[in-house]
Symmetry: C2
Subunit: 343 residues, 2 copies
């Protein structure tokens, strides 16, 4: 199995990404194609002493798309950008999956223009796993489509349900619509229009509306929302988790001698927790609805996160999630069936 | 100064609310009118030994609106509901402010129908203070208007800015638009249309787009979003804070002997932090844009939270926030001025 890794355009530069790839080929036995500036990558492979490792290869790309460029324009005009070259490897089946940690917008645009959607999918959605008190909840869409339509939300629910089943191992995952109240009559226009469609979709186990407080509770497996809400919530979670751990530390430091001693004693346990809550530990959100497995990592991913992302990509290829989504979309409840059920 | 307290329709029943009022009159020296079932309230006043306290009075209301009723229909048909009776006291200037902890929807509907908006305000917004690493951030709208228009967002920004200044004491508060990226070109239709209006509004110190991760960072004082996003974010914060503190506890308990010992030593510090993060400690979100100070507490508020809410209401009356908002709305940048500035 071969995974393409776009090593350019990230916060920490190519060295963290190449190191992550080195760790991944050791751990998962897969091949990785490093996409980006050839001489930079060669130097890094030498630095890590793996220039002759047959599992690591290089695909040169002379351009980079940075975080501040307009995604759609950049992926159309920079034909030799690393994300575009990596996407073309995927389209031409020269690799089985792609892992990117550059600009999310550019990654989504590249997937849309150079890889293409699964037949019948209106818009792809980004599925992000987040820790709950009992396991892992999938939140989607976390940023691919900001002004979603009810149809997009239903497809997110179907794709998220398959993700939860195949990637997380949940049987018959509980799908909830993120809303401001549990009652069917609550919500904005989008939520109100989406609810009856989810209720009638036979491919999912829809449990109704869920609220913000349910996301981490472990009472729902797949949480559906539009890309604006999902992105705000995810970034807020990141900030809040950091803020609370900082507050825990400050509370201990200001709590007197015994609290400080106690703080020292719990340091290893807290460090472990910080890792659990760290977005870096997750290894990649999956862009669902495109024709091949396409993973998007946090822009500030370090080697360990990249290694995990490649591991998740291997799992995505093995579980054949794209084929499952293709089948499901072909079989989703059609609008005429829905209308037939309406009074 | 007299505060009306609707004691009905909450999760814990009237006893917690009456106790909160007893604590508040002692602490703040204000008067409280307890609105609800007279005999129930009388029994509680006797129970707490304050039946002759001249600062506490009763206004009988024979009906209650519960959490699951349709807000607008309920406040129109149940003319003797406690929230409606309390709102009428406020409208008739028989009290200076109102504190409610029943259904938020019913409270907003009652304020709209029975108290009315400040002249020029399109829709009221709920301003909720949340703790940041350096102080307090105000998030609004946190649930009054789910499908907001750009005009509503601008008024939220103006009203939130006044709130931050008068209620929290921030000078020239930094106002941010909650979005999925910092760049002006990022966002959904609402955010894109709102950005230029905020930029041209002379009454506020607009610092541009902020992301979810900025809310708790202390780098912005007023965060503007629509009522759907705000409500989801606030409820998510509540759930996540609880989940993280539970995870901290679990990490300590599973961390071996020294971690457990350390956990014992930090317990007082953590208990204090839990109180800081507890929505109960805040004492009430303020419904901005209506003709008198109208506070809405969390439905699960206990006595201490109700006491704080009454304290916040006293502060709201003293600072004359409604008059400041009325002036500001009369002076906000008019659309024709905005058009004049556009190229």
């Amino acid at each position: 199995m071969k995974i393409a890794l776009d090593v350019m355009g990230t916060d920490y530069g190519p060295s963290e990404l190449v190191l992550g790839a080195v760790m991944a080929v050791q751990e998962y036995g897969c091949d990785v194609v490093l996409v980006g500036d050839e001489s930079t990558i060669q130097d890094l492979l030498k630095k890590y002493g793996v220039e002759n490792n047959p599992h690591l290869s290089i695909k040169h790309a002379s351009q980079v798309i940075d975080m501040h460029e307009h995604p759609a324009i950049a992926v159309k005009t920079k034909k030799d950008a690393s994300i575009v070259v990596a996407t073309e490897l995927l389209r031409n089946k020269e690799c089985d999956a792609l892992v990117s940690s550059g600009s999310t917008g550019a990654a989504v645009a590249s997937a849309l223009f150079h890889l293409g959607r699964i037949k019948g999918v209106g818009r792809p959605a980004i599925a992000t796993p987040i820790p709950s008190l009992t396991g892992t909840t999938v939140l989607l869409d976390s940023g691919a489509k900001v002004d979603a339509k009810p149809d997009n939300m239903v497809q997110s629910a179907i794709m998220g349900s398959i993700y939860s089943e195949l990637m997380i191992g949940v049987k018959n995952p509980r799908v909830g619509l993120l809303n401001i109240g549990e009652e069917e009559t609550k919500g904005n226009e989008l939520a109100l229009a989406t609810y009856p469609l989810l209720q009638r979709e036979k491919l999912i186990n829809f449990i109704g509306n869920v609220e913000g407080r349910d996301i981490n509770k472990g009472t729902v497996d797949v949480v559906v929302c539009d890309g604006f809400v999902g992105n705000v919530v995810l970034k807020f979670a990141e900030g809040l988790a950091k803020a609370i751990l900082t507050m825990v530390k400050a509370a201990i430091m200001n709590g007197g001698f015994f609290a400080k001693l106690g703080g020292l004693l719990i340091t290893p346990a807290l460090r472990k927790l910080r890792k659990t809550l760290d977005p870096e530990a997750y290894g990649g959100a999956l862009l669902l609805g495109v024709r091949a497995p396409f993973f998007i990592c946090h822009g500030s991913s370090k080697a360990r996160a990249i290694k995990s992302a490649i591991g998740v990509a291997v799992h995505g290829v093995e579980s054949d999630i794209v084929a499952h989504i293709t089948d499901a979309i072909a079989n989703q409840t059609r609008i005429d069936e829905v209308v037939g059920h309406m009074k």
